[in-house]
Symmetry: C2
């Protein structure tokens, strides 16, 4: 051991002890006959003191050091004259007796400080320096803790962590599979798993009963700002259970993690149906930290010759509390907001319910004060409130109003950081219809089971069939989701039929799972949480990248190691492939 203590360990009770510390030079201050150095390691910062009177040569050596030098010092713990009570080591310093430079350091391209001067790109390129900063370091420590808590919780619940293979088989469905040429099997390829879905179902057939895994998954898709080509899931599957059992286990897990990390008790996990979520929030991932529920106004506003409303299949309002006094400018901002191309509304209607009981709107031309009062009543708006209304086609207008609701929540400070409102969204539709291809697709995947109550609709009205599928949403962010699987062969065949598979196609694509199901598949279901997303939620930021040690950028590149990159011809030949540009 090159040290006796870490830089986060010593305090007033250690005064008089001779210690050896190692670390990086965070900063140095020269004050006449003294030099003070903040020595940093993973655990904290300890102040080193060099004194011209005691040891002029040592002081001179200390003054030759630069930021981020790696040094080892031996000295005596003494009480500081000017204490810093904000840090655990702030009452002491080390009177240094010997100084040993373990390694020199070039000046880093950005400051290793909480408030760094480095931009995103340079910090990604020098990620190993960025990790030295408290913010990034704490994120990685948090991620470690979340994983430890997850494993100990699930282990206590009888779950077994089982590693599933990374080199698997590509399927025709796997358009976004990463593939891996096999040297030993020329012309053949492995695929990297988008999830361990089939393997965890096989483990249920294998009788493992309760499986989990914290596992890397891979998806070769155009990356949105917040996607990574490799990402990590907390993946689970259980046998002989019903939906409620899974929800309970994972409520328990989520509460356990929040309790241990934030020392808070999460509130009850409400459950709302997909349909209710869409009706009330226009979104299957509603932020439940505030109300501002949708009000369907179509029947209230129809028939006043206001073409925008009369022609719209859907007219929806929300009530922004105490916003009746919004200025023209504020209302224009909101109108601009909803008209942005990514939101796509054509306009915004507002009704001010003034404090004095009067009412004023942007549609006064078409609606009498009585009409407006009636809208206010339907919306449950009170004096002082502002009603905001959008109209148009259902899906598009729901989506736009959902964005406006979130924007208003933000403006009104209702999306309080540190407040967590978890919710289960349940009863997702089994299928979604793709207009382009004129056929149904599985909303979750083809092994998701329909609700027993809706069996009778499978043939007459497949689009209305609800699935035993569920998502966990916290503060408007989807943390994970899953479903109860089909374990009955007849039902599975019917499902493939609905999805337009011939029996031969089903066999070709899912053969090994279907075969396995013939040897005694238990009723089973599961769930997967996005670990990166869960960590960023717990850490209180939006970016999952901050919680990954070595993330890739939006082009799927690791700019630190410069990957991907060309490989040489010899290697390509050995793999029996060629590059075709």
């Amino acid at each position: 051991m090159l040290r006796t203590h870490t830089c986060g360990q010593l305090n007033i009770s250690d005064v008089g002890t001779t210690v050896t510390l190692c670390g990086w030079l965070q900063r140095a201050r020269d004050l006449g006959g003294m030099t003070f150095i903040d020595l940093r390691d993973r655990y904290g910062i300890t102040q080193l003191a060099f004194n011209m009177v005691t040891d002029a040569a040592l002081l001179a050596d200390a003054r030759k050091l630069s930021r981020e030098y790696v040094i080892q010092v031996t000295g005596i713990v003494i009480e500081r004259s000017s204490k810093n009570l904000k840090v655990p080591t702030g009452e002491i310093e080390i009177e240094v007796k010997t100084l040993n430079v373990l390694n020199a350091a070039k000046l880093p391209p950005f400051t290793i400080e909480d408030d760094t001067d480095g931009g995103d790109d340079i910090r990604m390129q020098f990620r190993y320096l960025d990790i030295r900063r408290n913010a990034v370091k704490q994120n990685l420590l948090l991620r470690h803790k979340v994983c430890q808590l997850t494993r100990s919780y699930l282990d206590q619940q009888g779950f077994i962590e089982i590693e599933t293979p990374v080199l698997i088989k590509s399927t025709p469905e796997g358009a976004r599979d990463f593939v891996v040429p096999s040297r030993m099997n020329a012309g053949e390829f492995y695929a990297l798993p988008q999830s361990p879905q089939t393997f965890k179902q096989l483990l249920m057939v294998a009788g493992m009963d309760k499986y989990f895994q914290i596992v890397k998954c891979f998806r070769d898709e155009d990356l949105r700002a917040d996607r990574q080509p490799e990402f990590t899931q907390i993946d689970c599957e259980m046998s002989f259970i019903e939906q409620d059992d899974i929800l309970q286990v994972f409520e328990g897990l989520t509460s356990y993690i929040f309790k241990n990390i934030h020392q808070i008790n999460l509130p009850n996990f409400e459950r709302i149906s997909y349909q209710t979520a869409m009706n009330l929030y226009g979104n299957d991932k509603p932020d439940m930290r505030f109300e501002m529920k949708f009000v369907d106004l179509k029947s209230t506003v129809i028939g006043r010759n206001f073409k925008v409303f009369d022609d719209a299949s859907y007219v929806v309002g929300i009530v922004a509390p105490k916003c009746a006094n919004y200025t023209r400018k504020q209302l224009d901002e909101l109108t601009d907001f909803v008209k942005r191309p990514q939101i796509g509304a054509t306009g915004l209607v507002y009704i001010r319910c003034n404090d004095d009981g009067s009412i004023k709107s942007s549609i006064d031309k078409f609606y009498s004060e009585n009409d407006l009062q009636s809208i206010a009543q339907t919306s449950n708006a009170k004096a002082g409130d502002l009603i905001l209304i959008l109209a148009g086609a259902l899906n598009k207008t729901q989506k736009a109003m959902s964005e406006l609701r979130l924007e208003m929540g933000q403006r009104l400070g209702l999306r309080t950081p540190g407040v967590y409102k978890p919710i289960w969204v349940v009863d997702f539709p089994l299928l979604e219809f793709n207009e382009e291809q004129n056929r149904f697709f599985a909303m979750h995947h083809p092994f998701t089971s329909p609700k027993t109550d809706d069996f009778h609709l499978l043939e007459s009205n497949p689009g209305a069939v609800r699935a035993n599928a569920y998502d966990l949403v916290i503060n408007g962010v989807e943390i994970g989701g899953g479903s109860i699987r089909i374990h009955d062969k007849q039902l599975q065949n019917k499902m493939f039929n609905l999805l337009g598979f011939t029996p031969e196609e089903a066999q070709e694509q899912f053969g090994f799972l279907l075969n396995a199901f013939e040897f005694g598949a238990p009723p089973h279901g599961g769930i997967a949480f996005g670990l990166d997303r869960l960590c960023s939620m717990i850490g209180g930021t939006d970016s999952i990248r901050d919680f990954i040690a070595f993330p890739k950028n939006n082009a799927g590149r690791d700019v630190m190691i410069d990957a991907p990159s060309a490989i040489d011809q010899k290697q390509l030949s050995e793999l029996s492939i060629a590059v075709i540009k």
Copy 2:
């Protein structure tokens, strides 16, 4: 929940309780008016009783079931008339009231029994059925436990688990890299890591101090019987430490795992140098459960006109205790053993030290009784012992004698199952000379540090330089290894020079790590354990495959899912590659 209890849970204290169980039909026995069914799940087996008198219809239903049917039963726990005290549930059975078939099952292609009738190939193809067998299931449970213990131990020691990327960069050294074409970066490839070596070193530069990870690694090589293209490592790295610190932590970890799984205290971890291991056991992975050390006999046997010994650069003996009475047949077997091509000795010399003090050998023609007594004395052989001698070139003869020693240990029952003798082999050579390419290669990797005492030999006699490198060996099996790394740039450059790299080549291949080292690299070192190997050692078998849920065969194929496989032209085109056979 479809059950109130598992099949491993109920005992005599539950008599009278109404319970619901789910599981697989292990076996059924029809005895006149009764049918007994063993119901199996992950947790155990519980006996179900059906009675013609109580419920003839139910009995008839039960008799329609076949092996591996998945059923749910409700009934009352009753005391058995004929108890089986070997299983925890053996004192009770369930008097079944209702029976529900959850899923039918085709007859499995092999019996789901401890002693199965299925061969290796069929069990691999139906791995999900093989996992239902106790042997395989227990191996997976053991692996889970080893992982949990590892994580909790290292967490308690302040280690942080950090995920390193799976999609990394291929290097020219990486001839055995699996590569992954990037769709978004046409003509470019990621590589799958053979180990997280460079990333864990970067994490030390990043100040993370104590890192670990249980992590998948990948190597595209011709597979020996006991290698897998994807395998799992317990990977660690520490900063500000010396070799002894790493050995202590991982001795602690190993002891902790054995203590918790086998309830045994491992003996002291002896440390022997590579050179001593080679001299005494002809092997850097000696099985220390028995002695039978090598004796160098060259100087004792020389000069008696026995050409085989006189011409050999190395003559080595071992003493097989109490084997003087080996028959001609037994000695012929040993001779055949050492002459096998994979061992490659040309012959075997023996000396019997008879119980009566007389001595007799296969070289009596050349050696007098006095000569033989002198060999026996040098070998420390006692009356009743058998001396076995090989001669030839050093390396080849060491290897052959090592095999013979293990064979004798086996024959004499000295390699006792359940006895564990861990040992650290230290002071490995830094470099090994490759005759073919006429240059040195790093024995471990180019970042392994030489021992300070041997710095002076780096230029004059590089082959003699010892490294700060170490392996953990238990019972002749290498569990893991590691080294203290170079953190000094001058020394690193000297090392590259020794390995025949130009500065440009070093920069091209290891640039991002070398650059990182310029920004303040702490002294650091690490180790990696093979998890698959560790589990098979703890589980008491030789095959790592038994401890992997879904292993691949010797051709790198997963025969269950039939991977790797061809992919379609569209997918190849999207990836900008073509197959060239």
